[in-house]
Amino acid sequence: MPQAIELDRLWKFYGDYPALRDLSLNIAQGACCALLGRNGAGKTTLLRILAGLSPFQRGTVRVCGESPRSEKARRLNGFLGHGIGVYEDLSGLENLTFFARVAGIERPASASAHWLERVGLARAASMPVRQFSRGMRQRLALARAFLHAPSVLLLDEPFTALDDRAIAMLTELLTEARRRGATLVLSTHQLREALAIASHVALIENGRLCYAGERTGDMLEDPALLYRLYTKLGAA
């Protein structure tokens, strides 16, 4: 199986502090990897490196065989970070149409309208984002990340601020994306939802990879199992 993401002996420092330490991980094309870890473990840093937003000091990173900053890798990526990445003064439709245009999507307005419908924001399409609730913003951000049918989806806490219906909608979107062969990497603290979708799990503690492997049935039954088995904090 070809690898969508290849990390080899990756080190990332903030000043003298090593945020990622000697991290090696491969994620196969079409896999869904749940990136788990406590606050400050290095999950967001890793996702930002994969999105080409953060330079690193040592090691190799390849996204679809390319450097994360390459035009090809950026075109194939869909990134949702901590910020929702949409403009407050534009409407939902205008935001999506702008991102569709820069992604080179044909008929950007109709593609945007379709995605607003998918995330349940069709009725708020012309409303400025500053009037959106937190959950609506997150749904718009998800539509923005999925808009150009990316081959690699990098999602940082995608379940944040979503209610149960929106979580079901996101789960459906992620399942659909996997069905069309997209690779998913999602960092989250919502273990149950993440493990239900994930095919693989990577657990990070203090910038080190503690566990990487397939998601097992045991993990689904007891989501905290990984932390207990593989982290020092969990063992304590």
């Binding site: 080409g52 937003l53 075109r75 929702i84 990445g85 992604a103 080179g104 923005r144 150009h148």
Partner: protein
């Protein structure tokens, strides 16, 4: 072509936000009008000497008003981490800088147009006598100012004192462009034909635009990501 289309999309988005909020245009327009008004009290409007310094006064006002516009260019991308979203998308750094420069250009040209009206009224200068040459000069000089503004707007966007730092950095760089624009403007306001002296300054403007646009495009990735 794809890069140009992306740049135009970025410019269009910035102008749509600006038309809605009017935060840069209102500040820059009001600043330009007030300065021109204050200087009209300080000098004797209509005197030949005033017309001689008209070009200098106008281009300094444009440069100062421009700083107010350029400060917002990349600051607009900070809420909700929009800059990160753009940088992780298919938009290249060069397209992003080019788009920001286009938006800066159009906003600053609007302020210049307003300023010229005020200038005509308070200084009794008939600037409309050579409209095509003046328009060409404004576009050429304003493009240079806009590119520099976009580049250094990106570099200072994360600084706490960016409103202060941006003008401090860009004005020294703009000196050759401003001298060239002032010399040609003074000739136009005096209704003198443009001779070899003015054409030389015209070439300086052109070279300045080409060099700084090329540098901005070549260094865009380094400026925006690192």
């Amino acid at each position: 072509m794809k890069s140009l289309a992306q740049a135009l999309s970025v410019a269009r988005k910035d102008l749509a936000i600006e038309l809605r909020t009017k935060e840069s245009i209102n500040a820059a327009g009001a600043f330009a009008v007030v300065i021109l008004l204050l200087f009209s009290f300080a000098f004797d409007p209509g005197a030949d000497a005033t017309r001689e310094i008209g070009g200098g006064l106008l281009w300094l006002v444009f440069a100062f008003a421009g700083a107010l516009i350029f400060n917002r260019g990349f600051a607009r991308e900070l809420p909700n981490d929009c800059l990160d979203t753009l940088l992780s998308s298919a938009v290249s750094g060069a397209s992003l800088l080019l788009g920001k420069s286009f938006a800066n250009l159009l906003m600053l040209l609007a302020v210049e147009f307003l300023s010229l009206f005020v200038f005509g009224i308070f200084y009794d200068v008939r600037w409309w006598l050579r409209p095509l040459e003046l328009a060409a000069l404004c576009v050429l000089a304003t493009w240079g100012i806009s590119v520099i503004g976009a580049v250094f707007g990106a570099l200072t966007v994360n600084l706490r004192l960016r409103e202060l730092m941006l003008p401090v950095i860009i004005y020294p760089l703009l000196i050759p462009l401003l001298i060239a624009a002032i010399e040609i403007t003074n000739a136009l306001f005096s209704n003198r034909p443009l001779g070899s002296y003015e054409l030389l300054w015209g070439r300086v403007l052109l070279v300045f635009d080409i060099v700084f646009t090329a540098l901005a495009m070549a260094l865009a990735e380094t400026i925006l990501v690192n």
